[in-house]
């Protein structure tokens, strides 16, 4: 696919523009993507810092959309309930304010992360032991629930009741850990 703007170079950059109730994607070549954004280089700050990178590639206003956006949607995207960071601000400063930001911006992040990490947005490395345990318990609860459903359908109500108790015990055991895995 060629760049929507110049139609000469292959489109390598996707710019998502948000307006109320709809998102528009523009496929551009690198050159056009840079040029469509207002962009001042601080010569002292080369090479491109992460903030510059993010705000230029994702944050910069596009002339076609700016007016519409500022009029109809001044907030521009989600806001973190814990630290108050907006998605737009995140793009401007290039930093998250807290762990809850990740949850608040969850849908939009893969797009940003893929640009920074050679097309990847999913973690495949180390998992904390404590998290592993929590994950294992959650999985076990799922398994028991399926068994429970089978038991109910087969009208083995005593067995179902025993399974339900088992689930409740497991749920209690992760109640603390579960709370801790969310910020505030």
């Amino acid at each position: 696919m060629n760049c929507e703007n110049c139609n000469k170079q292959p489109a390598t950059v996707i710019i998502t523009q948000e307006s109320v109730g709809e998102t528009a994607e523009r496929h551009l070549c690198e050159k056009c993507a840079f040029q469509t954004q207002t962009f001042h280089f601080d010569l002292n700050q080369e090479p491109l810092s992460i903030q510059q990178f993010l705000s230029h590639w994702f944050g910069g206003a596009d002339p076609f959309f700016t007016q519409q956006q500022t009029r109809e949607n001044p907030l521009q995207g989600p806001e973190c309930p814990s630290c108050g960071l907006t998605f737009q601000k995140f793009l401007d400063i290039g930093k998250f304010g807290c762990a809850a930001c990740y949850e608040a911006f969850r849908d939009k992040l893969p797009h940003v992360l893929r640009k920074l990490h050679n097309g990847h947005s999913i973690h495949v490395g180390k998992i904390p032991v404590s998290f592993n345990e929590l994950y294992a318990v959650k999985k076990k609860i799922e398994e028991i629930r399926i068994k429970m459903k089978d038991a109910v359908e087969a009208e083995r109500f005593e067995e179902a009741a025993a399974l339900r108790d088992e689930v409740n015990i497991l749920k209690q055991s992760i109640a603390h850990g579960g709370e801790e895995s969310h910020v505030d």
Partner: protein
Amino acid sequence: MSIEKFMRNAVTGWMASHGEHSDIVMSTRIRLARNLTGYHFPIVFTEKEAMAIDRAVSGVLLDSGQNGYSYLKMSDMPVLERQVFVEKHLISPQLTEPDRHGAVILSEDEMVSVMVNEEDHIRIQCIYPGLQFEEAYKQANLVDDYLEKSLPYAFDEDFGYLTSCPSNTGTGMRASVMMHLPALAITKQIDRIIPAISRLGMVVRGSYGEGSEASGNVFQVSNQTTLGKTEKEILVDLGNITARLIGHERKSREVLLAKSRIVLENRIFRSLGTIVYARLLPSGEAARCLSDVRLGIDLGIIKDIDMSILNELMIFMQPGFLQQFAGTELSEEERDIFRAKLFRERLDVETASSSTEKETEE
């Protein structure tokens, strides 16, 4: 204080010249970025949160009774001492920002340093001499496991370890090697290699990280991405790049030696002359000459100087160290004088047999 004593106190674990390929790879560093749930990241946190994080992290490590940890609060350290820590790569300049309430927990051998309230709540850092990815990661991983047992980490099933900067999200790991690549620099091949490496998800830059110049032909090679690859895969990929750079560097040295030996020897001995006899030694010139002398030692052209001196002098020639050695603040010219003095004395201590130096001293 005598120069020997000062040096003895100032030398740190990673400056020793051992470990594999230590003639080219000066040190290996692993850094893990971690955050705790329930607290805002340092960029927006309150002083109260900062204190709570500090207490939690330092409590766990100091109570562990491992590695002979000691705790140092940035606000309690004299400015000069903080600068020396930065120059030794034990802490980052960001940690010293006053509103961060930063602190560092340092192992006795200074090879493990845990920064508290830098850009993230926790930055575990291990520096080893030479090329030792596996050992450095193993150590960092142990510290990480230990902290995780007592502290609730911010972790997400999809995104991995949650960090303040999205460029660290995932493994939170930055692995890097500090490499001395004089032959690639002299032959200008490095200019072609740097962009090629960046296409592989790795970065090459000067020895003090982002934006810093490669002083003394010392380059830092590190992974750029932290998502989509396991820690092991990142280390293997970086190891492969490092091995290829070492190979290239060695080959270029051979070619230089075969094709222009006299020119190379001339350059190396002139530089040796400069650092042994100079009375004013600006840092740029000092770094350049040290690089040449080190190359001379590696190639067997200079025989009576130990390589570890150069590792040390590379660090000690910096403003913080010089001023600590002098015991007072110094202007730029005074620093150049002191740097020249430090180099003369250090090289004189080592090559005590050469009496020529003493004769020139009044």
